[in-house]
């Protein structure tokens, strides 16, 4: 049985919701699948929702950091959203503060971050077209 975590594509973005207790091989499969998809579809942003994860240990933390680094090399930005407070407390005590990983409280603010960070080709030259200056 080959388990996989589904990767959804919306425009320039890839969305992943981790809803299972990942064993290490599944985490590595996700890392490979995501990097492949980023380059296949020329994704500019990756959003990983970990709100269902009850723990993030050093392996999962490292996998998330690897994904973010690999995505960056492939010209995509990554945001990890929805970490539970208990998970955050434990991670820091474990000694892992996830440097280099952009986080957001929920999917909405994660998407907002990606939209602000990623300049999509079609709006590349009129970025300030509908600015909201007062």
């Amino acid at each position: 049985m080959m388990e996989r975590i589904p990767i959804l594509r919306i425009g320039n973005y890839l969305l992943v919701t981790i809803q299972v207790d990942m064993h290490d091989k599944l985490a590595l499969t996700l890392q490979d699948d995501l990097t492949t998809r980023i380059s296949e579809v020329n994704a500019k942003g990756v959003l990983i929702d970990i709100s269902s994860l009850e723990i993030v240990d050093s392996f999962i933390g490292r996998t998330l950091a690897n994904i973010a680094s690999m995505a960056r090399v492939l010209d995509a930005h990554t945001v990890v959203v929805g970490m539970q407070p208990a998970v955050a407390i434990t991670l820091v005590e474990l000694g892992m503060s996830l440097p280099g990983i952009r986080t957001a409280l929920n999917v909405e603010s994660g998407m907002e971050y990606l939209r602000e960070t990623v300049t999509s080709p079609e709006e590349g030259d009129d970025d300030n077209g509908d600015s909201t200056e007062d």
């Binding site: 207790d21 990942m22 064993h23 290490d24 091989k25 009850e54 723990i55 993030v56 240990d57 050093s58 392996f59 933390g61 490292r62 539970q84 407070p85 208990a86 998970v87 407390i89 434990t90 991670l91 005590e93 474990l94 000694g95 892992m96």
Partner: protein, 137 residues
């Protein structure tokens, strides 16, 4: 190390990475039964995950014994991971953050120690490793 009176135990074999998931799930059930707070549950399960992975990766597999222990008026969960692997040659170094002889970040031992209250390592080169960790309620 204070071990207390053992009230009940459960043993889980650790032979592959799915067993590490099983370790997390069983430890979670025990912490729930003992009504640990959500943060404490998360700490214990995370420590179990780190130590379980060590048992698999460095010890070549082994087992976890989960125990409910009582010491006077306090109760706690004791995790005892044992393997028959190569043992840890330099304990002091192994406990340092950032030290790894494998592919990890080197947070497993030192990190799990911080997540638990009592922590004891019994190891000898060629004679395997037993790590006992307790978190009291």
């Amino acid at each position: 190390m204070i071990t207390g009176t053992v009230l009940k135990t459960e043993t889980i074999p650790i032979a592959n990475s799915s067993d590490v998931v099983m370790v997390r799930q069983r430890v979670r059930v025990w912490t729930l039964e003992q009504k640990f707070s959500l943060v404490d549950q998360t700490k214990i399960v995370t420590a179990a995950s780190e130590l379980g992975r060590n048992t698999l990766e460095y010890g070549g597999g082994g087992k976890l014994e989960i125990a409910l222990v009582e010491d006077g008026i306090r109760r706690g969960i004791r995790l005892k991971f044992s393997d028959q692997g190569p043992g840890i040659p330099d304990l002091e170094q192994a406990l340092k953050d950032g030290f790894t002889s494998g592919s990890g970040l080197g947070l497993g031992l030192g990190g799990s120690k911080r997540l638990m209250h009592d922590f004891d390592i019994d190891t000898a080169v060629g004679a395997g490793t037993t790590i006992t960790a307790i978190r009291w309620k």
